[in-house]
């Protein structure tokens, strides 16, 4: 069984909702990313989402954009992200890792070469923001060949007929976007999220994770009440940035601690959920 399937099966048997943490590989530093990933697991992450930095991250809000810019300034590349995953895997064989990025760096690497290298490094799935179903055939074939899950986004603007098309192609889980907007933006409307998740569930048995706009324990708890998993990204990166702003000499350890403390509070908030 794939790591993603095993993780969601375990969560289901425990009656818990999953927590997916997003950080950008190479931010705050390439050398610290592996350690940060392990710390996020300790703090309660069930699935690790690792952002592949891109010069033009069109779907990201300001917080994650700046993370991409810092990571690129630190010399991070797609190969560098794969190396980070491989290094993480030496100490953790269980926690699923999905990569999230944009088509061009992956195209440049080569779809088949990327799929092979991803499988080798211990990657479990891929979200390519700008590869909707219409453009996904080539990479899908490459990922399937090595049993990597291609994870699709479904948005509040996705009509029901399209949801059907997407879930037929999707593997691993469905990533349901909570708000119309970029990452980290907007106010979550729990009722609308519940309606969208219900619509998706009516068409697939795949787990549904909800992301975009989840900032704290309260918003996570509200989403966890209706979804299989909650994705937190911008808030973690923002927590690390704030430490650095308040204390310019903050060590990398202090920055990581800010992100993991937030994640831990979100985990606790979800686990105290009355659902």
């Amino acid at each position: 069984m794939s790591r993603l399937n095993a993780t969601f099966a375990r969560l289901r048997s425990e009656g818990r909702q999953g927590l997916v943490s997003y950080i950008v590989a190479g931010d705050p530093s390439p050398s610290g990313t592996v350690e940060l990933l392990h710390q996020l697991v300790v703090a309660g992450a069930d699935v690790l989402e690792v952002g592949v930095p891109f010069s033009d991250p069109m779907a990201e809000g300001a917080v994650i954009q700046k993370g991409h810019e810092r990571a690129l300034a630190n010399g991070m590349s797609l190969q560098g992200v794969l190396d980070i995953v491989a290094a993480f895997r030496q100490a953790d064989q269980q926690t699923p890792i999905i990569m999230m990025g944009y088509a061009n760096p992956i195209e440049r690497f080569g779809y088949e070469a990327f799929a092979a290298a991803g499988a080798e490094a211990g990657v479990d799935g891929l979200i390519t923001v700008d590869l909707p179903p219409e453009e996904v055939d080539a990479i899908d074939a490459a990922l399937k060949a090595v049993e990597l899950d291609n994870i699709f986004l479904i948005s509040p603007t996705t009509p029901a007929s399209r949801i059907q098309t997407i879930v037929e192609r999707a593997r691993g889980f469905i990533y349901c976007i909570a708000v119309k907007g970029v990452t980290g933006s907007g106010q979550l409307d729990a009722t609308e999220v519940a309606r969208n998740v219900a619509l998706i569930r009516s068409k697939t048995a795949l787990p549904v994770a909800v992301g975009f706009g989840i900032k704290d324990a309260d918003s996570a708890r509200a989403v966890a009440a209706v979804a299989d998993a909650v994705v937190v990204g911008s808030a973690l990166i923002d927590a690390m940035v704030r430490v650095a702003e308040q204390e310019p000499v903050a060590s990398e350890h202090q920055r990581h601690a800010a992100a993991t403390a937030l994640l831990k509070s979100i985990r606790e908030g979800m686990d105290s959920s009355p659902s």
Partner: protein, 406 residues
């Protein structure tokens, strides 16, 4: 690539997926997909709708001032002593460039969709001005995204947009130029997709934009074809246009594509010289990749990161190019060449002094190559250059380069 170049070939693109051969497509986040489908469906319906076309043509005639003249630049042609150079005077359009042809068309689409707000990206500011203009005329809220660097070098156009009632949003991410403005416009659209129409200014972006911008701009080539036959008695031997995203070039080229005897030259920004890397010439020097919703030629590094570009002209300072140009390059129908900053500045001065026509710095790239081309032709041949915009907006840039305080 082995493709038979037939008239049918050019009518066959884009296909139903928005592809021009391997280029084009719809590489955007899921949130935008239904907005693009809606736009595609609306345009499919209106494209051949007589009432819509009448409305578009009437606006072009009475608001833009079309048809624009085809002018024989006699003094310049005589000075060069080769083929005759004709200028398609898009600089005489309302707002001073070809950009208004497309914003009129897209504003009509926005009106049909009942959108109350329009957004646009702009580099040189010409598309921003053209968008702010149609927004003012239709009473639409207008936000124009513009890189901080471009705001600095195109301050006159920034003020024009403000006078027209648009909000100019400075973009501080990335290289702070046109590509970053387009990222920011896409982010705004994702956020406000329900009430907002994104008026893309060039033949790039996701399908159906490259097609509909091409269709709206093709009025340039349709007029030029008729004018060439009437004034010179035959089709031109060559067409020349500058290429940033490529909207003025596709507008001139498209109605001539099936005329095999008409050679075509798209002139990219050679910046400080193609060999220096500081340029904006993805067709000349780049490689295929995915950016801003389409697959096309890009300036990128080995990791697939988009490179910063350089050009003296803000409107050409873009690392990608419309997907139809990428395809026309690969099938060999259009020649893509480059003129550098220095050559463009020299051409700017020459046209100003010899013909009394001050071209935009973007357009000056086309003029620089046209002079070279005409020099090797015989006087019974002629070429048409798309004089895509006027240069008033650039006088501060030119003065600064020459160390003159205005």
């Amino acid at each position: 690539m082995t493709i038979d170049i037939t008239p049918e070939l050019f009518a066959s693109v884009p296909d139903a997926h928005g592809r021009f051969g391997p280029f084009g497509g719809k590489f955007v986040a899921e949130t935008l997909m239904s907005a693009l489908s809606d736009l595609e469906a609306l345009y499919a319906r209106l494209k051949d709708d007589a009432a819509f076309q009448r409305e578009f043509d009437a606006d072009l005639a009475h608001y833009v001032g079309r048809p624009s003249p085809l002018y024989e630049a006699s003094r310049l042609s005589d000075a060069i002593g080769g083929g005759r150079i004709y200028l398609k005077r898009e600089d005489l359009n309302h707002t001073g460039a070809h950009k208004i042809n497309n914003t009129i068309g897209q504003a009509l689409l926005a009106k049909h969709m009942g959108k109350r707000r329009v957004i646009a990206e702009t580099g040189a500011g010409q598309h921003g001005v053209a968008t702010a203009t149609v927004a003012a005329r239709l009473g639409l809220e207008c936000h124009v995204f513009m890189g901080e660097e471009d705001i600095r070098r195109q301050s006159l156009n920034v003020y024009r947009m403000k006078l027209l009632g648009a909000e100019v949003v400075p973009v501080t991410s990335g290289s702070r130029t046109l590509k970053d403005a387009m990222n920011e416009a896409l982010r705004d659209w994702v956020t406000n997709v329900d009430d907002t129409f994104y008026i893309i200014g060039t033949v790039a972006g996701p399908h159906p934009y490259p097609m509909l911008v091409r269709d709206f701009q093709s009025v340039i080539g349709r007029e030029a074809r008729v004018q060439s036959l009437a004034q010179a008695g035959k089709l031109p031997a060559g067409l020349v246009a500058c290429v940033g995203g490529g909207s003025n070039a596709i507008g001139l080229f498209h109605p001539f594509l099936q005329d095999a005897e008409v050679a075509m030259y798209g002139v990219e920004a050679g910046g400080k010289g193609l060999e220096t890397g500081a340029h904006a010439a993805p067709l000349s020097m780049g490689s295929p990749g995915v950016l801003h919703g389409n697959r096309t030629y890009l300036m990128q590094d080995d990791d697939g990161q988009i490179l910063d570009t350089h050009s003296v002209s803000a409107g050409l300072d873009y690392p990608g190019v419309g997907p139809e140009h990428a395809w026309l390059k690969d099938i060999g129908r259009v020649n893509y060449v480059a003129a550098n900053d220095e050559e463009a500045l020299a051409a700017f001065h020459r046209l100003t002094r010899v013909e009394g026509i001050m071209p935009a710095l973007e357009t000056a790239h086309a003029m620089a190559y046209a002079e070279r081309l005409a020099a090797d032709m015989s006087p019974d041949e002629h070429i048409i250059v798309n004089l895509s915009g006027r240069g008033d907006k650039d006088i501060l840039t030119v003065a600064a380069i020459e160390g003159i305080e205005v």
